[in-house]
């Protein structure tokens, strides 16, 4: 509503909220890594020509036998773990963000339709949502992936199939509220068509709660994608995400070669932790009920 005042008010509260600041710092660090990281490491871990099998399973640099070229050690194919984590984070973050965006667009559209028009459109969309919610999202994603096969595009479809529901429900709820408001009635008296009323009046006023949902969902999607890849039904081996990196290291974890799994795992943890810290802060700030 009071965009300008709210913006400064949020900034004001952000400065006094330690977990919000930490979350932002962690996420900025991740962003930096994803954006600039590849140019900082010497090796492209997926260019087979750059790999040296003689360098396989080197420990991190601070352990005995470590090689300063490979700060966090190497894996079984002589791949630099740091470089792999950087490239993997890129893929994980890309999947998390694009799947969230896709779910948000599709879910918001369906939620607007359901909330604004009601009737059978509403009944249809919401019953599908209910059915979808009665299965664990991991199970649905797993099922779809085993049907489609691996691939980033297929992961996006699966995650979107799982993720749209929460937007549709949130948006439908807010839309039902907004539809009753006098400014929507005023728009009707002004002669606006339904599409224009939805686009110009309702959509901007139901967006705020979505920011919170979307923030948290990026974290959830990164985790689901990691799980799928860990189970071998996620990304293809040529484009390993963090989950696949963990799986690759997992096979040799009990031989004492822990670094190949641990560092991608820590990376996922840091990213999701940062997202959740920021998400909690946004939830407190943007939830009108807590005000």
């Amino acid at each position: 509503m009071m965009t300008r005042i709210l913006a400064t008010q949020i900034a004001f509260n952000w400065r006094r909220n330690l977990s919000a600041i930490s979350g932002t710092v962690i996420l900025l660090a991740c962003l930096f890594m994803v954006a600039v990281g590849p140019s900082l490491v010497a090796q492209n871990p997926y260019d087979v020509m750059q790999l040296n099998l003689l360098d396989s399973y080197l420990p991190p640099v601070w352990l005995e036998g470590g090689n300063p070229n490979y700060l966090l050690g190497t894996d079984g194919q002589g791949r630099d773990v740091l470089a792999a984590v950087i490239y993997g984070t890129r893929i994980s973050a890309l999947i998390g963000l694009s799947a969230t965006l896709l779910s948000c667009v599709i879910g918001t559209f369906l939620g607007l339709m359901a909330g604004y028009f009601g009737g059978w459109i509403d009944a249809l969309i919401m019953r599908v949502a209910d059915i979808q919610l009665s299965f664990p999202s991991m199970l649905i994603a797993l099922f779809l992936m085993s049907a489609f096969g691996t691939g980033i595009d297929k992961i996006l479809i699966s995650l979107t199939a799982v993720g749209w529901v929460v937007y549709a429900r949130t948006v439908r709820g807010s839309t039902l509220g907004e539809r009753q408001r006098e400014y929507v009635q005023a728009a009707r008296v002004a002669g606006l068509r339904d599409a224009a009323i939805i686009w110009r009046h309702i959509l901007p006023n139901v967006m705020t709660p979505l920011i919170v949902v979307a923030t948290v969902q990026v974290g959830t999607f990164i985790l689901i994608e990691a799980s799928l890849s860990f189970l071998g039904v996620g990304v293809p081996v040529t484009q390993p995400s963090l989950g696949l990196l963990i799986k690759n290291g997992f096979d040799v974890l009990f031989s004492g070669l822990w670094w190949t799994s641990l560092f991608p795992g820590l990376m996922i943890m840091a990213m999701v932790f940062g997202i959740n810290l920021l998400g909690d802060f946004l939830r407190d700030e943007l939830n009108p009920r807590l005000k």
Partner: protein
């Protein structure tokens, strides 16, 4: 001369809990589909001449706002005719309505809810213009500036958001929006009831000035009798979805005929100390619109009610001098004893 607005036997029903699952119930061992229907407006007729101000008064739940929103075609009326400048618009679709929208605009009750918080004032005021006319954007901007000046705001206000204004100023923005397409009729749904008294007077004066300048007709919805007395030429009193009495302003205040009108007039507090004891003190409260009483809608609270009132619904009857009343007392005036 044709009337600006002519409403005939307008009915507006709302179905509660419209979901299929909510409507299924068990009755006598069988599944039963039931509708809970609220009759918000049960057959209301009136007309408004050009440049005339008709006020509908009544208490909450009497259907006065529903009448306004049905005429503005925010709702689709269940039955009845709404002739706007001769053309019946009661059953037109939203698309078919578009050409008639410019003859009728609306001012809303809540100055905080009736303006989209995310739009700038210039876009709010221009919305009906953009939807209904093919004006170029330069002409629109010019017109918006002129409208803002007309309602006592200035051009620099155009770039601001609604939250930067007080309640009275927001209501001015709403009025400018309604005026933008040069309507002949403005439906004003409790336009001053959310405002402080000093601001209320400003808005009422503005509305009267605009009527004189543009020759507007108003359908003015209000619960406040003193406001209605100030602005209306003619007054209709509503109770539980029915019009129980209509009369020219002075006639209604001097000689109210329906017991409800009399009760309403005597219940209104006044700052004028020299006032006689209330003529009729009402007991009890308004019955639910889900289950209207049989016969006369007012009989459950009427001190005069007798058996005929439960059996027969009184129709609105012309009593002369522009006054119409729906009450059996007009047949049997001997019962009208205090």
């Amino acid at each position: 001369m044709t009337a600006m607005l002519e409403v005939q036997d307008l009915r507006q029903e709302f179905r509660l809990n419209p979901g299929l699952l909510d409507r299924i119930s068990m009755k006598g061992g069988r599944l039963h589909l039931q509708d809970r229907i609220v009759s918000a407006v049960s057959g209301v007729s009136f007309s408004i001449a050009k440049r005339e101000v008709l006020a509908l008064v009544g208490e909450s739940g009497c259907g006065k706002s529903t009448v306004a929103k049905a005429i503005a075609r925010i709702y689709r009326p269940t039955a009845g005719n709404i002739r706007l400048d001769g053309q019946d618009i009661a059953s037109l679709s939203q698309a078919e309505l578009l050409p008639y929208r410019s003859k009728m605009q609306m001012i809303f009750q809540d100055p905080f809810a009736s303006l989209d918080p995310r739009q700038k004032v210039r876009d709010i005021v221009a919305e009906p213009l953009r939807a209904q006319s093919g004006l170029a954007s330069g002409e629109v901007a010019e017109r918006v500036a002129a409208l803002l000046a007309k309602v006592g705001l200035n051009t620099e206000h155009a770039g601001r958001y609604p939250h930067q204004f007080s309640g009275g100023q927001r209501q001015r923005i709403g009025i400018a929006r309604a005026l933008s397409v040069n309507p002949g009729l403005i439906i004003a749904d409790e336009p001053v009831s959310a405002l402080d008294v000093s601001v209320q007077a400003q808005i009422l004066n503005l509305m009267m000035d605009l009527r004189d300048e543009f020759g507007l007709a108003y359908l003015f919805i209000s619960h406040d009798l003193s406001v209605v007395h100030h602005i209306a030429d003619r007054i209709g009193v509503m109770y539980l979805g029915f019009l129980v009495e209509t009369a020219p302003r002075d006639r209604l205040f001097a000689m109210p005929r329906h017991p409800y009108t009399r009760a309403l007039l005597s219940a209104a507090p006044s700052i004028n100390p020299t006032r006689s004891r209330p003529e009729i003190e009402l007991q009890g409260e308004v019955p639910s619109a889900l289950a209207l009483p049989s016969g006369c809608c007012f009989r459950t609270r009427c001190p005069y009610a007798w058996d005929r009132c439960a059996q027969e619904r009184p129709a609105l009857r012309d009593m002369g001098d522009g006054q119409s009343v729906a009450c059996h007392l007009t047949d049997e005036p001997q019962r009208d004893m205090p």
